[in-house]
């Protein structure tokens, strides 16, 4: 119920719309990003977690299938750095696996949905008229569908979709419902860009449409897409955790952070580490992405630095 409108995304929309997307070169953005300490910290944490999810397997001799009959439901110990489950499986091995699944879902959903929304949004803006109206209708109908029900149907059903591994199924369904908001943003931004004089100038020079889109439109919505990419990753990771937590997302034998957290809820008091460790990992993961998103937004938007806006404006006028 609460995920119908994302106020933060809406604010971004209004900002993007009324503000010049004046950005120098990627170098300048990169430098600005590096100046933002929080963002750099976020990047570090994310890279560290990524490396952990890929190479973490070497930190423990156990894997997620082997049961250690000597250590069943044991708290963290030198043998099992993060303890074991009540079935005697090494938690570290599970976490490595779960983090990898979560990051994978995040990257795939975030990346592909940005691509879909860019193509869909640009197409709407570029053709306009009937094409735009029809595509907008489809888009709004999709927004109307309660995504979670479809996720539940698709992942719980016993129909033909059952042949896919559950994480891939979740990816497909999340993808299906994750691109609409951005597509609408891309559409309105592209439409306003098409009205810019430099796009008109190119048109009047006889530059082919394809080239105008490629050279003028795409770079100018780039910042929006990069921001949306990080936000999409966060959204997908959170959605996976939420769905798996109430038991409709990822199904065993696949392991994800959401599955681990969800499984542990029954025995929080007796096996607290089983609940808290994956939860903290998830927090670091989404937190690092949020920190990066924040830094990226600042880097892309010169006016949003924490020096008061009024001051900047007046200063600009006086130095002109």
């Amino acid at each position: 119920m609460t995920n119908i409108i994302d106020p933060i995304a809406e604010i971004d929309e209004s900002r993007v719309a009324d503000q010049d997307v004046v950005i120098g070169k990627s170098r300048i953005i990169f430098r600005r990003f590096l100046r933002n300490r929080t963002a750099v910290a976020g990047l570090f944490i994310f890279v560290a977690l990524f490396l952990f999810s890929v190479f973490g397997g070497f930190l423990t001799p156990w894997d997620k299938e082997t049961i250690d009959p000597l250590n069943i439901g044991m708290p963290p110990s030198p043998d099992h750095l993060l303890g074991t489950t009540q079935a005697g499986i090494d938690l570290m091995a599970l976490i490595v696996d779960g983090t990898r699944t979560s990051i994978l879902i995040g990257l795939i959903v975030g990346g592909i949905s940005v691509l879909i929304s860019a193509v869909y949004g640009c197409t709407m803006a570029f053709f306009g008229g009937k094409v735009d109206a029809t595509m907008l209708f489809i888009l709004e109908a999709l927004i109307m569908m309660p995504a979670i029900l479809v996720v539940a149907v698709a992942t719980s059903g016993s129909g033909g979709l059952k042949n896919l591994p559950s994480w891939l199924l979740l990816v497909v369904v999340l993808l299906f419902f994750s691109w609409m908001g951005t597509a609408r943003l891309v559409r309105s931004l592209s439409m306003s860009l098409m009205q810019r004089d430099y796009v008109k100038a190119a048109k009047y020079m006889g530059v082919p449409s394809r080239r105008i889109v490629w050279r003028h439109l795409v770079p100018n919505i780039g910042s929006l897409l990069v921001l949306d990419f990080t936000r999409g990753i966060t959204g997908a990771i959170l959605a996976e955790v939420a769905f798996s937590f109430i038991g409709i997302g990822i199904k065993l034998p696949d392991v994800s952070l959401g599955v681990l957290i969800g499984q542990a809820t029954g025995q929080v008091s007796s096996f607290p580490w089983m609940f808290w460790v994956p939860l903290i990992v998830m927090f670091f993961l989404t937190g690092s992405l949020a920190m990066m998103n924040d830094g990226l937004r600042d880097a892309f938007d010169p006016s949003s630095s924490s020096i008061g806006r009024a001051k900047n404006k007046t200063a600009k006028v006086t130095t002109k």
Binding site: I5, E10, S14, P146, A152
Partner: protein, 327 residues
């Protein structure tokens, strides 16, 4: 205005029809109640299963299209949304479920809106000061915490309070204690059941409104018309309170109008975690029970509520913004 509303409603009706139909086909092709029947003891023969389902209008031998036509015919001619595999009528249970959801959500949604907007204004007035940083950081933190986990953490907290006190102050699940005496004890029982879910949904719900209201207000604080108001002789704070706040409320009013109908749809996560048998929980459970008709009905209901929200949002805009007022 009426004409406009009719036109919008018409478009939404088409959309609802399409989404519901798509949902039905998805459900029919992936939900197979017969599988669950196989687990019953004594195990019924496939013929028995088929016969009982045929009676319920859930004939597994018909193809998706035939069942769709039959189902749609029932709705159009008799407003009959079909039956569950256990024989229950969808229509019969629907109202109860909606009522439960409404009871669970009404208090928290209203609190969420009021607190969110108030905190948004408060933090905008103290931009970059300590209070603003705390409030806004909290809101961003909530954004990276999935709702069910947040609710679960509140439940854990309530349980530990109960344990610390040594008696059951709060109920962390359920609507009411069965067989409670009416009058005062019933009221105490009600509050004890309401407290935890309402608290959880409120403190994790206002973040969005806080951030939005704060940003919209800040966007208007240095607007030209605020300067005009100050030039008339209003102090900065008066000018902001009277002029900027009113203008910044336009987009917020829109999203509030959008949210209000959600009171009646409930939520999947809250109902699942706090075990309130409302619409949200019903829809999730129905999928577990391979119940095609309930799943589709709740999906349709969600779409209808969304459409009402969207129309209300338009309506709210025309109320608060004279620029789009229609004569």
């Amino acid at each position: 205005m009426l004409k406009y509303l009719l036109k919008r409603s018409g478009i939404y009706l088409i959309m609802i029809f399409l989404t519901t139909s798509a949902g039905y086909f998805l459900a029919v092709s992936s939900l197979k109640p017969a599988v669950l029947e196989q687990e019953k003891i004594p195990r019924p023969t496939p013929e028995q299963v088929a016969a009982s389902f045929r009676g319920l209008g859930l004939d597994p031998e018909k193809n998706a299209w035939e069942r769709y036509v039959e189902w749609l015919g029932g709705i159009v001619t008799r407003w009959d949304w079909g039956r569950s595999p256990n024989g229950a009528y969808v229509n019969a249970e629907f109202a109860d479920r909606v009522l439960v959801s409404t009871r669970l959500f009404i208090a928290s949604i209203i609190l969420t809106l009021i607190i969110g907007v108030a905190l948004g204004v408060y933090s905008a007035a103290r931009q970059y000061k300590f209070q603003d940083r705390v409030i806004t950081s909290y809101s961003y933190l909530v954004h990276i915490l999935p709702a069910p986990i947040a609710y679960f953490l509140v439940q854990l907290g309530a349980i530990s309070i109960n344990e610390a006190v040594g008696e059951r102050l709060f109920f962390v699940t359920g609507i009411s204690t069965p067989g409670i005496d009416p009058g005062w004890p019933a009221f105490v029982d009600l509050v004890a059941h309401y407290a935890v879910p309402t608290f959880a949904m409120t403190i994790f719900g206002w973040a969005g409104y806080q951030i939005a209201q704060r940003q919209y207000l800040l966007d208007n604080v240095n607007a030209d018309f605020v300067r005009t108001a100050r030039a008339k002789g209003l102090t900065r704070n008066q000018a902001i309170r009277k002029h900027a706040l009113r203008v910044s409320f336009i987009p917020v009013a829109q999203s509030i109008a959008f949210t209000i109908p959600a009171i009646f749809t409930g939520g999947f996560f809250a109902e699942a975690i706090f075990a309130w048998p409302g619409i949200g929980l019903w829809s999730i459970q129905s999928i577990g029970l391979q119940d095609v008709n309930v799943a589709t009905a709740t999906l349709a209901y969600g779409s209808v509520i969304f459409a009402i929200g969207a129309i209300l949002a338009d309506f709210a805009t025309t109320l608060v913004d004279p620029r789009v007022r229609v004569q």
